[in-house]
């Protein structure tokens, strides 16, 4: 690798150029998004704004809610709950999954349990959570946790299960210190399995929290959606949906995808050195 002899200034410029290329590469996706909005606009014009408001009406309502209403605080409440459940699921799922992957017996045992957890619909967990935790933060946080946990768990388990035995042997033969073995041999491989699981789980957390709030709480985006539904306010409903999807897209493409590219850069290097 020659990257160590490149000056910091040069590296900064290259990083900025790569970021620019990444962001500009999203222009194609923006074109697709605009086509989708055209379709939405055309459908809304056919159905009338009582059934489906136009994109502009939804955006205007959202802007209005953000400047005058309580939209920010509702979004913050939902984000807090989603992130709490998500953080618990990431911690527990990663730790248990890594541990389970280390032993074949444990993997065999945990597989049907995970299948069972994934197979149970979140709405069923929500009912149980309502019985156990009542109307409060506990219900959405638990529901998010239980919906995200198996996704993270499976990723982590696969990560340790698929570790290359030969690499392990080489590391042992060279008597690599434990810290280096973890950081340079195991971690890159495990992370490349963990990360997709974390990303999928984050999307799930965001969707599940809204569903849980819709049925269980009096604040948060879900509760606000319930109110707009009962008032037959389709513009507000669409505005909330737009806010939810935009937040998800922003986190995914501005935060997670760049990180994912970084941590998976070694794969490209590995596959290009094979040929």
């Amino acid at each position: 690798m020659t990257s160590s002899i490149v000056s910091p200034h040069r590296r900064l410029v290259e990083a900025a150029a790569a970021t620019g290329r990444y962001l500009w590469g999203g222009m194609g996706s923006l074109a697709g998004l605009a086509l989708f909005l055209a379709l939405w606009e055309a459908t809304a014009q056919q159905l009338g704004s009582l059934i489906l408001p136009t994109p502009r009406e939804a955006f205007a309502t959202l802007a209005q809610m953000l400047t005058h209403g309580s939209a920010w605080s509702d979004l913050a409440i939902s984000a807090r709950r989603a992130l709490a459940g998500y953080a618990l699921a990431v911690l527990a799922g990663s730790a248990l999954g890594l541990a389970a992957g280390a032993s074949i017996t444990a993997s065999l045992l945990s597989r049907p349990i995970v299948t069972l957890l994934i197979g149970t619909p979140p709405i069923a967990w929500l009912i149980l959570a309502l019985l156990w935790f009542g109307a409060g933060d506990g219900t959405p946080v638990f529901t998010v946790f239980i919906a995200c946990f198996p996704i993270v768990f499976i990723g982590a388990m696969q990560g340790t299960r698929t570790l290359d035995d030969r690499l392990r042997a080489v590391a042992q033969a060279f008597r690599l210190p434990l810290g280096m073995r973890l950081r340079d041999v195991y971690l890159p491989h495990v992370v490349s399995y963990l990360f997709p699981g974390w990303i999928t789980a984050l999307g799930t957390a965001w969707k599940v929290v809204v569903m849980a709030e819709l049925l269980s709480t009096s604040d948060g985006v879900g509760a606000a959606l319930a109110v707009s539904r009962s008032q037959l306010d389709t513009a507000a409903s669409m505005a909330w949906i737009v806010a939810l999807v935009s937040a998800l897209l922003a986190v995914e493409y501005l935060l997670l995808e760049p990180i994912k590219r970084r941590v998976e850069a070694w794969r490209e290097f590995a596959s290009s050195s094979e040929s």
Binding site: A31, A34, L35, A38
Partner: protein, 408 residues
């Protein structure tokens, strides 16, 4: 030899040795002439009593089917022989075709006197003749790599016929001209992808030698741009002013911006043969973005964004294609003198000034005149310095449209 004799010799002989020569000369001359007339019309110095559809329709139509059409004819009649290996048109047929172009211009100007049907036939004959000449060799080629040109030309002919039909039946001619604008934008994307593959890679080769990864005009991005431009143009034709078209225009803007990804090739982008085509695409992206914003409720009128597509993208594309093709096929080679960026900058300035006209800061009449003046200056520069590729004899002793020999 006196100047007069030189000119006579040029007009009688050297002007006709390759098809691009007479038509590029017509395009550039007409760019100056018709814009001067338009500026005089706007200022109220003259009037056009005998024109069907009125002066606005005349201005729009002549820019598309007079100015741009001459450039397209010159480009295709030179490019098709290069693509397919057929012999370029000789002096006589070129003279007939150029006469047809002139008749079309006169016919529209006199359409009030001639009657619309006669003017329509005189004007439409040119495009039909072009298709009859250019389409067969492109179609016979195996594999049919350049068949998009046939499709685009046919679409252009149909919109042109629709324009005359609307004029004759009291319809809305401007709607058809907007559709034709969309076809021309597609044609620019198609033509520039062919030219850029050659020119950009030459520039890269000069800089870095063979080690460099080549520039590729990738079809998926190009097809997305063509599809979105088509969707917007058809939508706006079908239901003018609808907000759906606003989103479609934004999609076209994003797709054009996406096309720029092909062009982010490092420092070679600063070279004129790369930068000017790049500016064409930038004008298209910003133009469609402005149109989209207008249709979704912004203050600027749709015509503001459209003039970024016309004076900006179309004007620049015509100029750079005429400079590149003129240089390559006249034996002079690519022109590295300073007038090229200067003329291009004048056109960009004209487009920007015209786009801001009437809704942003400066008064409309002033911006329109200034934009017209900048446009005329840009084309006057082209005529002054590019003339040698159109009227002069070949400096390298080669024949007709041959390219100069490779440098090494």
């Amino acid at each position: 030899m006196s100047t007069r004799e030189t000119l006579r010799r040029a007009l009688g002989q050297t002007l006709w040795i390759c098809p691009f020569r007479p038509f590029f000369l017509l395009a550039a001359t007409y760019a100056v002439l018709t814009m001067s007339v338009w500026a005089a019309l706007l200022a109220g110095f003259i009037s056009l009593p005998g024109v069907a559809g009125g002066p606005f329709v005349w201005h729009a139509h002549e820019m598309l089917f007079g100015f741009a059409m001459a450039a397209i004819i010159g480009f295709l009649l030179t490019a098709v022989p290069e693509f397919t290996g057929v012999t370029p048109l000789g002096r006589r047929p070129l003279m007939r075709l150029a006469t047809l172009w002139l008749v079309g211009r006169g016919a529209f100007l006199l359409s009030g006197v001639l009657g619309i049907w006669l003017a329509a036939i005189a004007d439409l004959a040119l495009l039909v003749a072009l298709i009859a000449i250019a389409a067969p060799p492109l179609w016979r080629q195996e594999p049919r790599r350049h068949v998009t040109f046939i499709t685009t030309l046919t679409a252009l002919a149909l919109t042109h016929a629709g324009f005359w039909w609307a004029l004759a039946t009291g319809g809305e001619p401007m709607r058809w001209l907007r559709l034709a604008l969309g076809v021309l934008m597609v044609l620019i994307v198609v033509a520039l992808s062919r030219i850029s593959m050659r020119i950009v890679n030459d520039v890269l080769f000069d800089r870095d030698g063979e080690a460099r990864t080549p520039y590729l005009a990738r079809p998926p991005r190009r097809n997305l741009a063509i599809a979105t431009i088509t969707a917007y143009s058809v939508g706006e034709f079908w239901q003018p002013g609808n907000a759906v078209n606003g989103w479609l225009a934004l999609a076209a803007a994003a797709a054009m911006a996406n096309l720029l990804n092909d062009w982010h090739i490092g420092r070679a982008l600063a070279r004129r043969w790369v930068l000017v085509p790049y500016a064409v695409y930038v004008c298209m992206a910003v133009g469609y973005a402005l149109i989209g914003a207008s249709l979704l409720g912004a203050a600027a009128p749709v015509s503001a964004g459209e003039h970024l597509l016309l004076a900006g993208a179309l004007g620049l594309a015509v100029m750079i294609v005429m400079t590149i093709a003129g240089g390559m096929h006249s034996g002079h080679g690519l022109d590295e003198r300073r007038w090229v960026p200067l003329a291009a900058a004048a056109l960009v300035a004209a487009a920007v000034v015209r786009t801001t006209g009437g809704w942003w800061a400066l008064p409309a009449a002033f911006t329109f005149s200034l934009a017209a003046a900048l446009w005329v200056i840009g084309w006057a520069i082209f005529l002054r310095f590019g003339m040698r590729t159109l009227l002069g004899a070949r400096p390298d002793g080669r024949e007709r449209c041959d390219e100069p020999p490779p440098r090494d």
